[in-house]
Symmetry: C2
C-alpha cells in the first residue's frame, strides 16, 4: 500500500524527527539521501524504520531497494507524502529513522596517540556537522560536545556530517564532566584561541590530546582557555578577522593528528 | 524621501545585483550587513550606491550612519522596500552596491614565498566564499578561479567571504591562461587530490606555490593533477569518503603558508 496522506501516523512519525521534541520522544533521528543512508547501512547502524518514495531519484534507486529489503519496517509513499516528511529542498525520496546513539564520555578511554575533537558551545549546525566529518576523516577517537551546543541529531548537522555521524562516537556533557574526565584520563586539553597561542604544528602531543573549538560568534570562554594545558592560534597573514570555525577546526585537528602520527613513527 | 515601493527604479537596481545579468549590466555586486560593509569601508572599496532601511538592526546602526554620510548616493527605504532588494532571510537593513573589481592574472607577479589559492571549476558558493576567506586570512597573494567556477560576486559567495572579498585580489581565467601564467612566472602548481599525493606539510616551497582545489563533487580533473608539479593528499585516518572542500583547502593552504613562512625564517 502506498501512503499518500501527510496526516498518516507513520508519515507523521518521520516528520516529528525533524524537531528535538520528536527525536527525544522516539529515540531516533532523520537521515535522508543516498549518501547518508549508504553510510548508515555500511556502518550497520540500527535503523528503526525506513521511508521510500514511489519515485526516488535515480541516484537513490539502489538505496531504495536496499531499504525495502531490510529487516526494518519500510513505508512506501507518494512523492507528496514523502515531501511532507523531508527536510530537503530537493528530496531524493529515501529516508531512515536512525536510532540515536550517544557515547558515554566516561566510557571513552583515551590512550596516548588519541586525538579528540571537543566542541564548546558550538551553535551553528553546519559548523558542527563539518566538525564531525573532519574529526572522523582525520581518525579522531570521538567528538565531545560540551555545554550548550546545537543538537547533534538535527537534520542540518546530520547532513553536514556526510555520514560521519554513523562512524564517530559522539558524547554530550556538561563542562564539569569534561574537565573531570580530562583530568582522570590525563588528557592534554588544547584550546584554540584567536590570539596569543602557539601555532598548531607546535602542539605538544604527549599523551592523548583534546582539541577544543569554540563558537564562531564568540570563540572560547576565557576561563576555558586559561584552564587548558595548551593554547593554539592559527597565525594570521591577512586582514580579515577570523577563519570559518569549521576551517579553523580542520587546520588544528589536522596538526594534532599529524603530531601524534609523527610521534608514533619516531 | 523614504522610498516604499519595490518597483522604484533605484530599489530595482539593487535587486538586480542579486543576479549575474544585473551584475554584468551594472558592474556592481550586492553586499549586505554590518560586518561585510564594515570591511568594505575599512578597505576603502569603491561603492556605487548605498541603501539603508529606516529601521536598521541595532548592530547595523553605526554602519547605516556611515553610509548616509558617505560620498555615494544613499537611498532611504521602508523595511518593506529594503526586504524586496535584500538577499538575506533576516536583513540588517544596510546594503551597498560595490564596484566589481577583478584582478588581471597577468598583472599578478608571483615572488618566492607567495602562496596563491586556485579554485578549479568550484561550483559551490559556500565553499568558494570560505576559500576566499581562508586564503585572505592566511595571507595568500590572490585567488584564481579557473574554468567554470561559481560567480565570485553572487550574494552567497560574498556573504561566505566575511569581507575578505574586499581584501584579496581575485582573478578569473581559462585553464590555458592559468597554465601559461604559471609557466611564465615559474610557479609550482600543487594539485590537491584524494589519493596518491604527499602530505601537505611535505609540500616543496621553492618559489611561489599555487595550491589548486577542485570541486567537492568531482575533485580535480585527472589531466590537471598530472600536469601539476606536485600532488598533495590529506592522509585519511577514518572511513568517510572525503573532507568538506573548504576544510580540505584550509588544511593544504595552511601547510603551504607555513612552509613558505618557515623557509623565510631559515
Amino acid at each position: 500500500m502506498i501512503l499518500d496522506s501527510p496526516h498518516n501516523q507513520h508519515v507523521k512519525f518521520f516528520r516529528e524527527l525533524r524537531e528535538a521534541k520528536g527525536r527525544a520522544e522516539h529515540g531516533a533521528f532523520l537521515a535522508e539521501g543516498a549518501r547518508l543512508i549508504g553510510e548508515a547501512l555500511a556502518a550497520e547502524w540500527p535503523i528503526v524504520a525506513a521511508a521510500v518514495s514511489e519515485t526516488p531519484a535515480l541516484a537513490a534507486m539502489e538505496i531504495a531497494r536496499a531499504l525495502q529489503g531490510g529487516k526494518w519496517p519500510c513505508l512506501e509513499l507518494t512523492a507528496r507524502a514523502f515531501r511532507s516528511l523531508s527536510d530537503e529542498q530537493s528530496p531524493q525520496g529515501v529516508a531512515i529513522a536512525a536510532s540515536i546513539g550517544r557515547a558515554r564520555l566516561d566510557e571513552i578511554a583515551a590512550a596516548p596517540g588519541d586525538v579528540l575533537a571537543v566542541a564548546w558551545e558550538l551553535r551553528d549546525p553546519g559548523n558542527m556537522g563539518t566538525l564531525v566529518r573532519t574529526a572522523e576523516f582525520l581518525g579522531c577517537k570521538a567528538l565531545v560536545a560540551v555545554g550548550d551546543c546545537v543538537d547533534l541529531f538535527e537534520p542540518k548537522v546530520v547532513r553536514a556530517t556526510a555520514g560521519a555521524i554513523f562512524r564517530l562516537p559522539l558524547a554530550e556533557v556538561k563542562p564539569d564532566e569534561f574537565w573531570a574526565w580530562a583530568e582522570a584520563q590525563s588528557v592534554t586539553v588544547a584550546a584554540t584561541v584567536s590570539e596569543g597561542g602557539s601555532p598548531p604544528e607546535q602542539m605538544s602531543a604527549e599523551g592523548p590530546v583534546a582539541v577544543v573549538i569554540g563558537s564562531e560568534a564568540h570563540g572560547l570562554p576565557e576561563a576555558v582557555a586559561r584552564r587548558a594545558q595548551a593554547r593554539i592560534t592559527i597565525p594570521r597573514g591577512g586582514q580579515v578577522e577570523s577563519l570559518n570555525a569549521g576551517v579553523a577546526a580542520g587546520i588544528v585537528l589536522y596538526a594534532a593528528a599529524r603530531q601524534v602520527n609523527t610521534k608514533d613513527k619516531g
